[in-house]
C-alpha cells in the first residue's frame, strides 16, 4: 500500500496549518475553510513532492544501491516516513505496527500521537543502525516490504535535503513549542522567589520567637514585624521587649511569693514556726539571685542580636540568626530549681503524723468502751445471784416487809460473801 498519500484533503486542518507554517507559507484568515488550506498546501508543498514522485519510478529499479545507502540516513527515516507527513489513518496504522493501540486521532490528539510515533521510531532507528547489515539481507529476501521500503529510502535519498529541511523546520516548530514550555516553566520558576516571602516571614518569626520565647507578647510583635522588614524596627522591638522583660520578672517574683504563702499556711498545722522562717529566708535568697541571672542572660543575648542583625544582611534578605540558648537548660533561675526539696519532707512528715493522730484517738475511745463493758460483765458474772441488782432495784421501791426481809437476807448473804472474799 502506498505510504505517501499526497491528498491533502485527508489531512486535518491543524495538520495543514502546521505544514504551511513549516514551508513559510502565509496562513489564510483563521476561520477560513479547510479547502483554502488544502489549496495552499497543494500549491506550495505539492510542488516539492512531485519531485519525490518522479524519483519513485526511477528508484524501484535500483534496489541494492538504495539498500547500501540506508546506513547513512537519519535513524528516524530508516523505516517510516516523518510522522507529520502521514494521514490520520496512516499514523494510526504506524502506531499499531509498534504495538500502540491509538485512540481517535483528532486535532487535539494528533500532535501527541505524532510525538509518540517519533519516540518509537527513534528507538527503532537505534536498533536499526546496529543491525544495518542484517537488514540489508532481510530486504533482499522480502518482496513487497522491500519495494515499499526501498521506495521510501529512495525518496529519503533523493529528497534528503528537502526532508532534512522539513525535519529541521519541524524541529524548529518543536523547539518553539518546547521553548514555550520552557517559558512556562521559567514563569513557574519566577514564582519561586515569591515563595521565599512566606519562608522569610517564617524565618523572621522564628528568630524573633526564639528571642522572645519567654515573653507573652511575642506573637503580636512577630506578626507586626513580619509585615515590615527593616532592621531598625526590629531593634526597636527588642528594646521594647526589655521593658516587658522587667515587668515579667516582677510578675514572676509575685507569683513566687504567692506560692510561698501557700507553703507557710500548710506549715502552721504541725511544724514549728522556725521552719516557716527558714523557708522564707531561702526564698528570699532565691529571688535576688534570679534577677541578676536573668539580666545577665538577657544582656549578652541582646548584644548578640545587635551584632548579628547588621552583619548578616544578604541581598535576598534571608538571614539566619544564632539561636538563643535554651533557657531551661542552664539559665533557669534557681527560684524554680528547688521548688519541692525544702517542702516535700516536711509535708510528708506532717501527713504521716496526721494519719497517725486521728486513728489513735479512735482507738483509745474504743479501748475504753470495751473495758467498761468487760468490767460490767465481770461484775455480773462474779455475783452468783442477782441480789445486788435486785437490792438496788428494791431500794427504789418503798416496799418495807419484802425490803426488810430482803435486806436481812442480803445481810446474811453478804456476810458469808464477805467472809469468802476474806
Amino acid at each position: 500500500m502506498p505510504m505517501f498519500v499526497e491528498d491533502p484533503a485527508n489531512f486535518s486542518k491543524s495538520r495543514l496549518k502546521s505544514d504551511l507554517v513549516a514551508h513559510n507559507v502565509k496562513l489564510p484568515p483563521a476561520k477560513s475553510k479547510k479547502e483554502v488550506y488544502v489549496e495552499l498546501h497543494m500549491q506550495h508543498i505539492d510542488q516539492k513532492k512531485t519531485v519525490e514522485f518522479s524519483s519513485d519510478e526511477e528508484v524501484e529499479e535500483d534496489e541494492e544501491d538504495d539498500m547500501e545507502g540506508e546506513d547513512g540516513e537519519n535513524p528516524g527515516d530508516a523505516e517510516m516516513p516523518d510522522p507529520s507527513a502521514l494521514t490520520d489513518d496512516d499514523l494510526k496504522a504506524a502506531l499499531l505496527k509498534h504495538g500502540v493501540k491509538a485512540g481517535p486521532i483528532v486535532a487535539s490528539t494528533r500532535f501527541l500521537y505524532e510525538k509518540k510515533l517519533r519516540k518509537l521510531l527513534q528507538s527503532d532507528g537505534h536498533h536499526g543502525q546496529l543491525n544495518g547489515a542484517k537488514n540489508g539481507m532481510m530486504y533482499s529476501d522480502s518482496e513487497e516490504e522491500e519495494e515499499e521500503e526501498n521506495g521510501e529510502d529512495n525518496d529519503a535519498e533523493s529528497s534528503a535535503e528537502e526532508e532534512n529541511k522539513e525535519t529541521v523546520e519541524e524541529s524548529d516548530q518543536a523547539d518553539e513549542e518546547s521553548s514555550q514550555v520552557k517559558l512556562c516553566t521559567q514563569n513557574g520558576g519566577f514564582t519561586y522567589p515569591q515563595c521565599f516571602l512566606p519562608q522569610m516571614r517564617r524565618v523572621q518569626a522564628g528568630s524573633q520567637s526564639v528571642a522572645a520565647n519567654v515573653y507573652s507578647s511575642s506573637s503580636s510583635s512577630s506578626s507586626s514585624s513580619s509585615q515590615t522588614f527593616s532592621i531598625t524596627e526590629m531593634l526597636k522591638e527588642m528594646e521594647g521587649r526589655r521593658s516587658l522583660s522587667t515587668s515579667a520578672n516582677s510578675e514572676r517574683a509575685f507569683n513566687g511569693g504567692n506560692v510561698q504563702h501557700h507553703w507557710s499556711q500548710s506549715n502552721r498545722l504541725d511544724m514549728p514556726s522556725v521552719v516557716n522562717r527558714t523557708m522564707k529566708n531561702q526564698s528570699l535568697y532565691y529571688t535576688p539571685k534570679a534577677f541578676p541571672q536573668e539580666r545577665e542572660m538577657q544582656e549578652p543575648v541582646k548584644d548578640d542580636f545587635k551584632h548579628l542583625f547588621p552583619a548578616e544582611i544578604t541581598p535576598s534578605g534571608i538571614y539566619a540568626t544564632r539561636r538563643r540558648p535554651i533557657k531551661g537548660a542552664a539559665g533557669r533561675p534557681i527560684q524554680y530549681m528547688y521548688p519541692d526539696t525544702p517542702v516535700s519532707p516536711m509535708t510528708l512528715q506532717r501527713r504521716d503524723v496526721e494519719r497517725r493522730l486521728v486513728p489513735v484517738h479512735i482507738q483509745i475511745l474504743v479501748f475504753v468502751t470495751v473495758t467498761c463493758l468487760l468490767y460490767l460483765i465481770y461484775v455480773c458474772v462474779e455475783d452468783n445471784t442477782f441480789s445486788p441488782i435486785v437490792s438496788l432495784l428494791d431500794n427504789l421501791n418503798p416496799g418495807s416487809n419484802s425490803g426488810e426481809a430482803l435486806l436481812h437476807k442480803t445481810e446474811a448473804q453478804d456476810t458469808p460473801a464477805l467472809s469468802e472474799w476474806e
Partner: protein, 90 residues
C-alpha cells in the same frame, strides 16, 4: 498510596457539572488560566480530552504538560482526579 488533597476529594465527590477547570486537582489559577486560553475553560472539556485519549495516563500527562506547562506532580494529580471521577460516575 499517596494521599489525596482536599481539592481532589471535593471534585470526586459529585458530578462535575459546570465546574470551572480550576476545580480540578493540580490545576490552580495559573494553569487554569492557560487552559482557558486554549479553550478548555470548563472541567468537562478537559474530561473530554481525557476520554478522547482513552484515559491513557502517558498521553494525558504529555498533553496537559504541552498545553499548560504542568509539572509532574500536577500532571499526576489531574490525571488521578479525572480517573477517579470517571470510575465513580462514568
Amino acid at each position: 498510596m499517596s494521599s489525596t488533597s482536599q481539592k481532589h476529594k471535593d471534585f470526586v465527590a459529585e458530578p462535575m457539572g459546570e465546574k470551572p477547570v480550576m476545580a480540578l486537582a493540580g490545576i490552580g489559577e495559573v494553569l487554569g488560566k492557560r487552559l482557558a486560553e486554549k479553550g478548555f475553560d470548563k472541567a468537562y472539556v478537559v474530561l473530554g480530552q481525557f476520554l478522547v485519549l482513552k484515559k491513557d495516563e502517558e498521553l494525558f500527562r504529555d498533553w496537559i504538560k504541552d498545553t499548560c506547562g504542568a509539572n509532574v506532580k500536577q500532571q499526576g494529580d489531574c490525571y488521578g482526579c479525572l480517573k477517579e471521577w470517571c470510575d465513580a460516575f462514568l
